[in-house]
Symmetry: C2
DNA sequence: TTGTAGGCGTTATCAC
DNA sequence: GTGATAACGCCTACAA
């Protein structure tokens, strides 16, 4: 494989002339340029980024760390990241933590070993011990970090997440607008602080004399008649479901119970992926702007790398996508 | 950041002792080991893979090149790749070609620049001009390559795909077993060679006096009543749909037309993602083993890297997953 | 068992 | 405008 040296020799100039020409650091004589270009073409020269990275002590690789890729949420966010990074000629490493068999320390060492230019954590590591590790990386080793989609208080490194309080609020308001005033919340097991945010938005929207009904779906189950029974008992006519898959299974179960969606009970889900779109009936939902989330995450990483300013906390505004289920 | 040199100095040994100790090339005196370990811990040493890669002229980064990540098919295959590669401590680069704004030459140069250890192409580049480029990379520059999920004749580089003829055959057979003998094929626009494979499997399964009905769905449309009308005209009672999303929209449209699935018309889709699972009714489908496809793709790359033997062509066997739509 | 030194392909600091 | 030379951090012959 041809190297810079080979090009230099072939073009009768020094390596540094070639290097500077390629990086547009200097203007070279037209004649020199021609000879260099010719040599590059003839020898099929391609620069070696590894050598460059070693010399410059920085790579153009950004790591994305997430639980799993084969999920519409994560792949959408990641695709957004990938899009923005590609525009700036950065490469993207994917790490699925479940596959890594590494503890937090191991993951961080992996990042350092590979000299990644930045790290995007997506919705991960609820425990605070890891936050300390991330802070260490961010503050100590000065690796740009973004924490995407964990709604935690600001703690020294940039955060980026959707406004969950508002998501919950506009979702609830939408149901109320559809004359569904007895509204239940359905959700898979969830950290308490998250749940509190949803509760807050819900409270802001709801009539104060309406007793909220929170229904937690076991992690090992889908929504079934048992859950629908609860809805009936409480004379619920609107349900806000915190994940799309559960929302789908809810509508399925309602249909089997001869309960009409949205006439008897309206269903609104959080998250607007293909799932909501293809469900029967198609689900009205709160769009959390997943792709934008990814794009902005990448932007914040890039701004850090390029020493530009960036927001400590970026909050995305959710919006309603109306379909058939409300 | 501490380097090997620092460790060596701190432990009062030479860099090469440390290096060889770390790479388990030699056994060192217990005492030396202790001193080295102590230095590593004290200085927080992490090896620099970039420098290592430069020296060894090889990286442990494998590139996955695909059209888009935010799709259940691609993300599932990629997750499989990621899983197997992670087990062998390889990193994975993701390149979404739509975002790259690079022609084939540009993509290949990117691979060389980054000195990737291998490349997995997933379902891409139907035109043969690019096949030539890939062959050049594979044979000329000796970068391990796998071509995943393009059912083309063997042409010098390893191929890996599901048995589409069989997929089509067992799908058709399943419909026949359910007493649905007037079977239509529905599909989005498709390269002719692919279509021929499906046709072949179909022919092997079907009664010879049954005239096949192929329905192509416009790229800009979902299945609608117009298509259902065709089914009725031809007295179809079973449909084999070549993509899950279309299958879902077909069942939706059938429901709206008061046609019962599976009683009046059975529907069977190709591909077993979450989409088939959550559709109403849940779709019987042909599982193409997407995750396994990814895993095996990674294995073939690894075998090439490690100079082990590997199959030129690997064909995966599809199987039926029975749900409610047949 | 351990040390010395050269080089992987680049860029950067000088000097000319 | 251009060139020589020294790094970047690691591995590895070869030497001791």
């Amino acid at each position: 494989m041809a190297t810079l040296k080979d090009i230099a020799k072939h073009a009768n100039v020094s390596t540094c002339t070639v290097s500077r020409y390629l990086n547009s650091n200097i203007v070279v004589k037209k004649e020199t340029e021609v000879r260099i270009e010719e040599a590059i073409k003839k020898l099929g020269y391609v620069p070696n980024i590894i050598a460059k990275s070693l010399k410059q002590q920085e790579t153009s690789n950004v790591a994305v760390i997430l639980p799993k890729l084969n999920h519409l949420y994560y792949s959408e966010v990641t695709s957004g990241i990938s899009q923005t990074l590609a525009e700036h000629h950065y490469n993207i490493f994917i790490y699925e933590v479940d596959n890594l068999h590494l503890d937090e320390e191991g993951i961080m060492n992996l990042m350092r070993e590979n000299m990644v230019a930045g790290i995007v954590f997506i919705g991960l590591f609820p425990d605070t011990s890891f936050q300390e590790k991330i802070k260490e990386v961010f503050l100590g080793w000065k690796i740009p970090v973004v924490y995407t989609n964990r709604c935690i208080p600001y703690d020294g490194f940039p955060l980026l997440y959707p406004n969950l309080v508002k998501a919950s609020k506009i979702g609830t308001e939408h149901l109320i607008k559809r004359k569904k005033e007895k509204i239940a919340f359905m959700h898979k097991p969830l950290p308490k602080d998250l749940l509190n945010q949803f509760l807050k938005g819900y409270r802001e929207a709801i009539n104060r004399d309406h007793e909220p009904l929170f229904i937690e779906i076991s992690d090992d189950k889908n929504v079934n008649k048992e859950y629908v029974q609860k809805l009936i008992e409480h004379q619920i006519n609107g349900v806000f479901v915190l994940d799309e898959k559960s929302a789908v299974y809810l509508t399925k179960t309602l249909a089997k119970s001869n309960i009409q969606v949205p006439y008897d009970i309206a269903v609104l889900s959080l998250g607007n992926s293909l799932i909501s779109e293809i469900s029967t009936p198609e689900l009205t939902c709160v769009d959390l702007q997943n792709r934008v989330l990814g794009q902005k995450s990448a932007e914040i990483i890039l701004n850090q790398i390029l020493n530009k300013t960036f927001e400590d906390v970026t909050v995305l505004e959710p919006f309603i996508v109306e379909r058939e289920s409300t």
